[in-house]
Amino acid sequence: MTTTIETAPLVPGTVILDEEVGARGPWSTVVVAGDVLTIVDLCGNQAVDTLIYAADDHRQRYSAAATVSAQRNLFLTTGSVLRTDDHDALMTLVADEVGSHDTVGGACSQESNTLRYGHHTKHQHACVENFLAEGSRWGIGKRDLVSNINFFMNVPVDADGTLGIVDGLSAPGRRLALCAERDVLVLVSNCPQINNPCNGFDPTPVRMIVTRPTGAQA
């Protein structure tokens, strides 16, 4: 299934960037304060591994722990403020057609794949490879990679603490929108994992649309 569907930004505004991220590929851009990034899950249930950094100081970066402890909830949805380690706001999830996104499961890596599925998976494409390769273009290295957001990924936690990646809640064309609270660098791996249901066992493209509120200055 690679049929794409036409979609629009989730929040009205002037489109200033509209790009498709190929299946398994990395992507990054700077979103300036006030602009809105719409992510479109074109084919449904495609995990979009995302890290966020202050554009002018990459040491200020997304913290899953600070974000979930500040909102006292493990799942991200409309209203979630994506925070740095120092609890400053980077972006706010302003609209969400899915209702729940993961930020506990981290990114797949060649190394963790060997634990999760066996050593035969070591040379499969993994998100950390995308983060390292794409991050290097911005001076971001291994020390800067931390627990990320997995948009469109579903990781429930059972009463006894058992957690795991299960079938997703998204569907073709579902969108979410992130408003930048300051100038941010958004670093994405369009997850290539094929050993669990995070991509429906079939990695597919996603679409990235940046809009500027109508009337706002560049």
Partner: protein, 281 residues
């Protein structure tokens, strides 16, 4: 005003030297073998770390492979935030996402591996008298403690975990960007069906956990209130830290297949480095 004479170098030296030998309830004992209350089943000569860390303070040490590290909540309100880095390759470090995802378990318990980002087990939780720990909420920040207690700076009465970790990490040449999400012991958190996070607090006084160390690691410990601590006042109490050598790390301590592969990866990297060392010698 004191009456001590520190007007000359010899008097100042005498004054300084007269201060040694003071014993408090919040200090390291060196050598660790002199610790007054070693575990009854341990030869005190094997102790490599013996220290009491007051609430709102931190400690750090490099520990070798085969160390057993015991953390004890003495009075019931300690909270030990922990970070681990490979001592010989500190860019490899604790990864809390893999630590919960790979074992399919959010709540730390006996047999839980503390995994690095390179698919290796840095430490395993081998004894747990508390059962109340957290791998989800990380630690506190200057902003969050200031909002909560009025101050979160390093030398305040309510230091934030991140401020404590910053200084602990700096002593190993590591910077703020080297601080990933941390684990914490002795203050539990549970996840509701709707994702809500709630504190279940402490298991009480005199509870301890033991970790065995699989590879040489830099250990950073910050003893400070958990982010979800419901107490309106900052009242973190003392943490006892003991470590000794001689732990068996040559056999896996958990039967899960994911654990076994993490263990094999760890033994693989250790054996390869040792072999190289012998050939160079």
């Amino acid at each position: 005003m004191t009456s001590v004479d520190t007007s000359t170098t010899s008097a100042a030296k005498e004054h300084a030297r007269a201060q040694s030998g003071v014993v408090t309830d919040s200090m390291p004992v060196v050598p660790a073998s002199s610790w007054p209350t070693p575990p009854s089943d341990i030869d005190p000569a094997l102790l490599t770390w013996a220290e009491t860390v007051p609430g709102g303070r931190y400690t750090t040490k490099v520990l070798g492979r085969g160390t057993r590290l015991r953390l004890r909540d003495l009075d019931g309100r300690a909270c030990a935030h922990l970070l681990l880095y490979r001592a010989d390759a500190p860019w490899e470090r604790l990864n809390v996402a893999d630590t919960v995802k790979v074992p399919w378990q959010a709540y730390l318990g006996v047999g839980h591996p503390l995994l690095s980002d390179q698919g290796r087990v840095l430490a395993t939780l081998v004894s747990d008298g508390s059962g109340r720990h957290d791998a989800l909420c990380g630690t506190t920040s200057l902003a969050s403690n200031t909002a909560r207690y009025g101050d979160g700076s390093l030398h305040s009465a309510s230091p934030a975990g991140r401020e404590l970790f910053t200084v602990a990490a700096a002593k190993h040449g590591l910077e703020r960007r080297d601080l990933p999400p941390s684990l914490s012991f002795f203050h539990g958190v549970r996840v509701g069906e709707d994702g809500s996070l709630s504190s279940i607090g402490s298991a009480g006084a005199d509870t301890a956990i033991d970790l065995v160390i699989h590879l040489p690691v830099i250990v950073l410990i910050a003893n400070t209130a958990h982010p979800l601590d419901p107490s309106p006042t900052y009242d973190t109490t003392a943490l006892e830290v003991l470590a000794w050598t001689g732990a068996d790390v040559a056999e896996p301590v958990d039967a899960d297949p994911e654990y076994r592969r993490a263990f094999l990866n760890t033994e693989d990297v250790w054996a390869a480095a040792q072999r190289q060392g012998r050939e160079q010698a």
